[in-house]
Protein backbone atom coordinates (compact mmCIF):
# COMPACT_ATOMS: atom_id res chain seq x y z
CA UNK A 1 0.00 0.00 0.00
CA UNK A 2 2.74 2.40 1.04
CA UNK A 3 4.77 1.41 -1.97
CA UNK A 4 1.89 2.21 -4.28
CA UNK A 5 1.52 5.63 -2.73
CA UNK A 6 5.26 6.31 -3.06
CA UNK A 7 5.32 5.05 -6.62
CA UNK A 8 2.38 7.26 -7.50
CA UNK A 9 4.06 10.32 -6.00
CA UNK A 10 7.33 9.67 -7.81
CA UNK A 11 5.57 9.11 -11.13
CA UNK A 12 3.56 12.32 -10.67
CA UNK A 13 6.75 14.21 -9.82
CA UNK A 14 8.57 12.77 -12.81
CA UNK A 15 5.63 13.58 -15.08
CA UNK A 16 5.53 17.25 -14.13
CA UNK A 17 9.30 17.58 -14.35
CA UNK A 18 9.14 16.05 -17.83
CA UNK A 19 6.37 18.45 -18.84
CA UNK A 20 8.52 21.33 -17.60
CA UNK A 21 11.40 20.14 -19.76
CA UNK A 22 9.15 19.67 -22.77
CA UNK A 23 7.96 23.22 -22.24
CA UNK A 24 11.54 24.42 -22.16
CA UNK A 25 12.11 22.69 -25.48
CA UNK A 26 9.03 23.56 -27.47
CA UNK A 27 7.73 26.93 -26.31
CA UNK A 28 8.47 29.64 -28.88
CA UNK A 29 10.03 32.56 -27.02
CA UNK A 30 12.24 33.27 -24.02
CA UNK A 31 9.52 34.55 -21.72
CA UNK A 32 7.30 31.56 -22.37
CA UNK A 33 10.17 29.12 -21.91
CA UNK A 34 10.73 30.65 -18.51
CA UNK A 35 7.46 29.06 -17.41
CA UNK A 36 8.70 25.52 -18.00
CA UNK A 37 11.41 25.13 -15.34
CA UNK A 38 9.70 27.27 -12.67
CA UNK A 39 6.75 24.93 -12.91
CA UNK A 40 8.76 21.74 -12.86
CA UNK A 41 10.46 22.87 -9.70
CA UNK A 42 7.20 23.32 -7.82
CA UNK A 43 4.88 20.37 -8.22
CA UNK A 44 7.45 18.07 -9.83
CA UNK A 45 10.11 18.38 -7.18
CA UNK A 46 7.42 18.83 -4.52
CA UNK A 47 5.89 15.41 -5.20
CA UNK A 48 9.29 13.70 -5.22
CA UNK A 49 10.18 15.36 -1.92
CA UNK A 50 6.93 14.28 -0.29
CA UNK A 51 7.69 10.74 -1.44
CA UNK A 52 11.16 11.00 0.05
CA UNK A 53 9.86 12.32 3.37
CA UNK A 54 7.28 9.53 3.63
CA UNK A 55 9.76 6.82 2.64
CA UNK A 56 12.46 7.80 5.12
CA UNK A 57 9.95 8.40 7.89
CA UNK A 58 8.68 4.84 7.56
CA UNK A 59 12.03 3.24 6.84
CA UNK A 60 13.98 4.71 9.72
CA UNK A 61 11.11 5.27 12.13
CA UNK A 62 12.23 8.85 12.73
CA UNK A 63 10.29 11.69 11.23
CA UNK A 64 12.30 12.97 8.28
CA UNK A 65 11.87 16.68 7.79
CA UNK A 66 14.92 17.61 5.70
CA UNK A 67 12.65 17.65 2.69
CA UNK A 68 10.67 20.56 4.07
CA UNK A 69 13.86 22.60 4.00
CA UNK A 70 14.62 21.63 0.42
CA UNK A 71 11.10 22.71 -0.53
CA UNK A 72 11.45 25.94 1.41
CA UNK A 73 14.77 26.91 -0.19
CA UNK A 74 13.50 25.95 -3.61
CA UNK A 75 10.33 27.99 -3.18
CA UNK A 76 12.40 30.97 -2.14
CA UNK A 77 15.06 30.77 -4.85
CA UNK A 78 13.11 29.61 -7.93
CA UNK A 79 10.87 32.70 -8.24
CA UNK A 80 13.76 35.06 -7.54
CA UNK A 81 15.90 33.59 -10.30
CA UNK A 82 12.94 33.59 -12.70
CA UNK A 83 12.26 37.22 -11.84
CA UNK A 84 15.88 38.21 -12.40
CA UNK A 85 16.07 36.41 -15.74
CA UNK A 86 12.83 38.02 -16.91
CA UNK A 87 13.99 41.44 -15.77
CA UNK A 88 17.33 41.04 -17.51
CA UNK A 89 15.60 39.85 -20.67
CA UNK A 90 13.30 42.87 -20.66
CA UNK A 91 16.28 45.13 -20.13
CA UNK A 92 18.25 43.85 -23.09
CA UNK A 93 15.01 43.53 -25.06
CA UNK A 94 15.03 39.86 -25.87
CA UNK A 95 12.73 39.23 -28.79
CA UNK A 96 9.13 38.46 -27.91
CA UNK A 97 6.68 36.41 -29.84
CA UNK A 98 4.85 38.83 -32.10
CA UNK A 99 1.40 38.04 -30.84
CA UNK A 100 2.40 38.74 -27.23
CA UNK A 101 -0.30 40.92 -25.74
CA UNK A 102 0.70 44.11 -23.97
CA UNK A 103 -1.64 45.36 -21.31
CA UNK A 104 0.03 48.29 -19.67
CA UNK A 105 -2.19 50.59 -17.76
CA UNK A 106 -0.84 54.05 -17.15
CA UNK A 107 2.71 52.79 -17.03
CA UNK A 108 5.60 54.69 -18.58
Amino acid sequence: MLEWLLAALIVIGAFFTLVGSIGLYKLPDFYMRLHGPTKASTLGVGAVLVASAVYFTFKTGDVSLHEILVTLFLFITAPVSAHLMAKAALHIQVKQLERTRQTHKGQD
Binding site: F16, K26, H35, T42
Partner: protein, 163 residues
Protein backbone atom coordinates in the same frame (compact mmCIF):
# COMPACT_ATOMS: atom_id res chain seq x y z
CA UNK B 1 15.99 45.84 26.07
CA UNK B 2 13.99 43.14 24.32
CA UNK B 3 14.24 44.97 21.02
CA UNK B 4 17.99 45.32 21.26
CA UNK B 5 18.41 41.71 22.12
CA UNK B 6 16.04 40.38 19.48
CA UNK B 7 15.75 42.92 16.68
CA UNK B 8 13.85 40.48 14.47
CA UNK B 9 11.87 37.95 16.47
CA UNK B 10 10.27 36.33 13.42
CA UNK B 11 13.65 35.86 11.76
CA UNK B 12 15.02 34.39 14.96
CA UNK B 13 12.25 31.84 15.22
CA UNK B 14 12.76 30.83 11.60
CA UNK B 15 16.52 30.50 11.99
CA UNK B 16 16.03 28.35 15.06
CA UNK B 17 13.55 26.06 13.30
CA UNK B 18 15.76 25.83 10.21
CA UNK B 19 18.76 24.92 12.34
CA UNK B 20 16.84 22.10 13.98
CA UNK B 21 15.51 20.91 10.62
CA UNK B 22 18.98 20.98 9.06
CA UNK B 23 20.27 18.74 11.81
CA UNK B 24 17.07 16.72 11.81
CA UNK B 25 17.18 16.43 15.57
CA UNK B 26 15.60 17.70 18.74
CA UNK B 27 18.63 16.93 20.93
CA UNK B 28 19.08 19.41 23.78
CA UNK B 29 22.52 20.51 22.60
CA UNK B 30 21.22 21.49 19.18
CA UNK B 31 18.20 23.21 20.66
CA UNK B 32 20.52 25.44 22.71
CA UNK B 33 23.05 25.98 19.92
CA UNK B 34 20.23 26.85 17.51
CA UNK B 35 18.82 29.33 20.00
CA UNK B 36 22.22 30.99 20.39
CA UNK B 37 22.58 31.27 16.61
CA UNK B 38 19.02 32.57 16.33
CA UNK B 39 19.91 35.41 18.66
CA UNK B 40 23.30 36.25 17.18
CA UNK B 41 22.70 36.06 13.44
CA UNK B 42 19.86 38.64 13.37
CA UNK B 43 21.89 40.79 15.74
CA UNK B 44 24.98 40.71 13.53
CA UNK B 45 23.06 41.14 10.29
CA UNK B 46 20.55 43.71 11.49
CA UNK B 47 22.14 46.34 9.25
CA UNK B 48 20.76 44.42 6.25
CA UNK B 49 17.22 44.44 7.65
CA UNK B 50 16.32 48.09 7.96
CA UNK B 51 12.69 47.49 8.79
CA UNK B 52 10.82 45.26 11.11
CA UNK B 53 8.89 42.44 9.48
CA UNK B 54 5.71 42.10 11.37
CA UNK B 55 3.13 39.42 10.81
CA UNK B 56 -0.12 40.77 12.11
CA UNK B 57 -2.35 37.82 11.48
CA UNK B 58 -0.53 34.48 11.67
CA UNK B 59 -3.72 32.53 11.04
CA UNK B 60 -4.33 34.37 7.78
CA UNK B 61 -0.72 33.59 6.83
CA UNK B 62 -1.34 29.91 7.48
CA UNK B 63 -4.46 29.97 5.34
CA UNK B 64 -2.56 31.90 2.68
CA UNK B 65 0.12 29.19 2.52
CA UNK B 66 -2.55 26.52 2.07
CA UNK B 67 -4.28 28.56 -0.65
CA UNK B 68 -0.94 28.98 -2.45
CA UNK B 69 -0.14 25.27 -2.27
CA UNK B 70 -3.57 24.43 -3.64
CA UNK B 71 -3.23 27.00 -6.43
CA UNK B 72 0.15 25.54 -7.35
CA UNK B 73 -1.37 22.09 -7.80
CA UNK B 74 -4.36 23.31 -9.83
CA UNK B 75 -2.29 25.65 -11.97
CA UNK B 76 0.35 22.99 -12.60
CA UNK B 77 -2.26 20.77 -14.18
CA UNK B 78 -3.54 23.63 -16.32
CA UNK B 79 -0.06 24.56 -17.48
CA UNK B 80 0.81 20.93 -18.22
CA UNK B 81 -2.22 20.89 -20.53
CA UNK B 82 -1.16 24.14 -22.16
CA UNK B 83 2.41 22.94 -22.73
CA UNK B 84 1.37 19.57 -24.11
CA UNK B 85 -1.24 21.17 -26.34
CA UNK B 86 -0.44 23.09 -29.50
CA UNK B 87 1.85 25.97 -28.76
CA UNK B 88 0.65 28.08 -31.68
CA UNK B 89 -2.71 28.39 -29.94
CA UNK B 90 -1.16 29.99 -26.87
CA UNK B 91 -1.73 33.67 -26.37
CA UNK B 92 1.11 34.92 -24.16
CA UNK B 93 1.19 38.45 -22.86
CA UNK B 94 2.40 40.98 -20.37
CA UNK B 95 0.04 42.29 -17.73
CA UNK B 96 0.76 45.17 -15.45
CA UNK B 97 -0.85 44.79 -12.09
CA UNK B 98 -1.56 47.86 -10.02
CA UNK B 99 -0.37 47.13 -6.51
CA UNK B 100 -2.29 47.95 -3.39
CA UNK B 101 0.46 46.47 -1.27
CA UNK B 102 3.13 48.87 -0.13
CA UNK B 103 5.50 47.06 2.18
CA UNK B 104 8.55 45.58 0.42
CA UNK B 105 8.07 42.24 2.16
CA UNK B 106 4.46 42.09 1.04
CA UNK B 107 5.38 42.93 -2.54
CA UNK B 108 8.14 40.36 -2.68
CA UNK B 109 5.83 37.72 -1.20
CA UNK B 110 3.23 38.56 -3.83
CA UNK B 111 5.68 38.44 -6.72
CA UNK B 112 7.18 35.18 -5.46
CA UNK B 113 3.71 33.70 -5.22
CA UNK B 114 2.91 34.86 -8.74
CA UNK B 115 6.06 33.21 -10.06
CA UNK B 116 5.47 30.01 -8.11
CA UNK B 117 1.97 29.51 -9.38
CA UNK B 118 2.37 28.18 -12.88
CA UNK B 119 1.22 30.22 -15.83
CA UNK B 120 2.47 33.53 -14.54
CA UNK B 121 5.96 34.91 -13.86
CA UNK B 122 6.56 38.28 -12.28
CA UNK B 123 9.04 40.17 -14.44
CA UNK B 124 9.59 43.65 -13.17
CA UNK B 125 8.55 46.11 -10.52
CA UNK B 126 8.18 49.73 -11.57
CA UNK B 127 10.56 52.14 -9.85
CA UNK B 128 7.80 53.72 -7.79
CA UNK B 129 6.66 50.25 -6.65
CA UNK B 130 3.17 50.79 -7.95
CA UNK B 131 3.05 48.34 -10.82
CA UNK B 132 4.18 44.78 -11.11
CA UNK B 133 4.80 43.52 -14.61
CA UNK B 134 3.70 39.93 -15.08
CA UNK B 135 4.18 37.60 -17.99
CA UNK B 136 1.41 35.09 -18.52
CA UNK B 137 1.77 31.96 -20.61
CA UNK B 138 -1.77 32.07 -21.84
CA UNK B 139 -4.33 34.85 -21.47
CA UNK B 140 -8.01 34.27 -21.99
CA UNK B 141 -9.23 37.23 -20.04
CA UNK B 142 -6.88 39.85 -18.62
CA UNK B 143 -9.36 41.13 -16.07
CA UNK B 144 -9.99 37.62 -14.76
CA UNK B 145 -6.28 37.02 -14.16
CA UNK B 146 -5.87 40.38 -12.44
CA UNK B 147 -8.87 39.98 -10.17
CA UNK B 148 -7.82 36.42 -9.39
CA UNK B 149 -4.40 37.58 -8.20
CA UNK B 150 -5.91 40.45 -6.28
CA UNK B 151 -8.55 38.43 -4.48
CA UNK B 152 -6.66 35.26 -3.82
CA UNK B 153 -3.17 36.55 -3.06
CA UNK B 154 -3.01 40.29 -2.58
CA UNK B 155 -5.98 40.63 -0.23
CA UNK B 156 -4.66 38.17 2.39
CA UNK B 157 -1.17 39.70 2.13
CA UNK B 158 -2.68 43.11 2.79
CA UNK B 159 -4.30 41.70 5.90
CA UNK B 160 -1.14 39.94 7.02
CA UNK B 161 1.35 42.77 6.60
CA UNK B 162 -0.55 46.01 6.39
CA UNK B 163 -3.79 45.93 8.29
Amino acid sequence: MMRRLLPHPVLSVFLWLIWLLLNNTMAAGHVVLGAVLAVFIPWLSSAFWPEQVCIKKPLVLLRYILVVLWSIIVANINVARLILGRSDKLQPGFISLELRLQSPVGISMLSNTISLTPGTVSCDLSDDRRYLLIHALHIDDVEAIISDIQNRFEQPLLEIFES
